[in-house]
């Protein structure tokens, strides 16, 4: 009996060891499957990561370079049009400056594997005129006879339009001072300037259209403060004016001043008309057309850049 008991115990011990071996095998298999899943997931994740493109969207760089070149050439044009540059040398000075700029730009972008070419030899320049009242007086015509007149009498374009007022008509007793854009075949636009309750008011109105908006800034003509309006940059006393940002004449236009007797101040603008058409004006370069090329491994882009900063 004791022998049988010992034999039964031995069988039981050996069975337990075989069962544990099977469990261990199953555990190893389960771990192997989980490991395989992890490997596949990691592979998919790595593949996704490697395909991510964090570089600038292709084409986005061409846009940025185009805008940068346009702004820089606009700065050169503004410098050349300054009063201290003789008008007879402006064209040559512009071309010379653009040549220097073009060479520097070409070298800079070549280091990054791109061809950026600004062709200084093929520039087309359009002359125009600067209309300016640089001393403080009312806004009548230069002969001081008409309060309603056309500073820009023929269809054209205007840029860099600025007004600095020392005095404005009161909104309660007088008609506002009006700068009107008479657009051929489309809605006219009006800028209405007045003063009310210690504020200078500027209203932009599309005649016959849906746009009308007003900006107000503190203004006290008795304390030598100015109301400064930059129509091209859409600012009023240095701050952004949403009403001016909405000014959008659709086509060429004439510019007319109305009720110019009461307001006092200065103004300045550049027009694409020649000095022969616009009296009391100074010849300037109004705009330039500059050939521009941008080539990279993925983009071929050629166009004419129109340089007319602040054009309305």
């Amino acid at each position: 009996m004791a022998g049988i008991e010992r034999r039964d115990n031995t069988v039981a011990r050996l069975s337990g060891r075989r069962a544990q071996l099977l469990l261990a095998g199953a555990f190893v298999l389960a771990v192997a499957l989980v490991g395989l899943t992890i490997v596949f997931s990691a592979n998919s994740y790595t593949e996704t990561l490697s395909e991510q493109d964090n570089s600038v969207q292709r084409g986005g760089n061409a846009l940025a370079v185009r805008e940068s070149v346009t702004v820089n050439l606009g700065d050169i044009l503004a410098r050349v049009n300054r009063g201290d540059v003789p008008s007879s040398t402006r064209s040559d000075q512009f071309q010379d400056n653009v040549t220097v700029y073009a060479n520097a730009t070409n070298d800079y972008h070549a280091r990054n594997g791109r061809l950026v070419n600004v062709s200084a030899d093929s520039i087309t320049l359009d002359s125009g005129a600067r209309i300016e009242q640089d001393s403080v007086r009312n806004f009548r015509d230069p002969s001081m006879t008409n309060s309603d007149w056309y500073p820009v009498p023929t269809d054209s374009r205007v840029r860099n339009m600025r007004f600095n007022f020392t005095n404005l008509p009161s909104s309660t007793g007088s008609p506002p001072f009006v700068v009107q854009f008479n657009v051929s075949g489309n809605n006219d636009w009006k800028l209405l300037f007045s003063e009310a309750s210690g504020n200078a008011e500027l209203t932009v109105d599309e005649v016959g259209g849906s746009f009308e908006a007003t900006c107000r800034r503190p203004f006290d003509p008795t304390t030598s403060t100015w109301a400064k309006v930059n129509v091209s940059e859409a600012t009023f006393n240095g701050e952004f004016c949403p009403a001016l940002a909405g000014l959008d004449p659709a086509g060429d236009y004439r510019v007319r001043f109305e009720n110019g007797t009461i307001p006092n101040g200065r103004y300045s603008m550049l027009t694409s008309l020649g000095t022969g058409t616009v009296p009391s004006s100074v010849e300037v370069i109004y705009s330039a057309e500059v050939p521009f090329r941008y080539y990279s491994s993925t983009i071929a882009y050629e166009r004419e850049l129109r340089i007319a900063p602040g054009e309305i």
Binding site: L22, S41, I299, E304
Partner: protein, 161 residues
């Protein structure tokens, strides 16, 4: 002797093996389902990403071309993925004729060929139009793409690169 009553070694082994196979089988089935769901999700995510890349590319080309006639040449080559999660896809572009605002509105859809996935986005082109090549919609195979600007018609032409 009392501890051995109603105890069969064979039954123990059989139960052990059955439980082990049940557990391992369940693990395999669960993992398979998980991987399949993950792959479907990864495919959809990749399609979404590709759709956004394409719409961004078209908007950039629209801005480069501008609405005037001064752009003489514009060619953009972009390497969209040929396959998404191992499967091909097709790009479908059609015009939203009900759009009455400024510019031209297009609907862009990416459809998987071998898997059940699709994405949709809408873009508005302000300066140019997309050449639908005479049809109601444009179909292009997914993969490297070239966009050419046709100055005469002020349209962007999409071609397999």
């Amino acid at each position: 002797m009392v501890g051995d009553r109603a105890l069969s070694t064979t039954v123990s082994y059989t139960l052990l093996i059955a439980i082990t196979f049940a557990l391992v089988g369940g693990l395999i089935v669960g993992t398979d389902t998980l991987i399949r769901d993950q792959r479907q999700q990864a495919s959809q995510d990749q399609l979404e990403l590709t759709t956004q890349e394409l719409s961004s590319l078209l908007k950039t080309a629209d801005r480069l071309a501008d609405s005037n006639s001064r752009t003489n040449t514009l060619e953009i080559t972009y390497g969209l993925k040929r396959r998404v999660a191992g499967s091909q896809y097709v790009i479908v572009i059609d015009e939203d004729t009900s759009w009455s605002g400024a510019g031209t509105r297009y609907e862009i859809r990416l459809l998987g060929r071998d898997f059940d996935g699709s994405t949709r986005t809408v873009i508005t082109m302000q300066n140019t139009e997309i050449d639908l090549q005479g049809g109601p919609e444009l179909r292009v195979n997914g993969g490297p793409l070239r966009i050419d600007y046709d100055q005469s018609s002020n349209e962007l032409v999409l071609i397999d690169a």
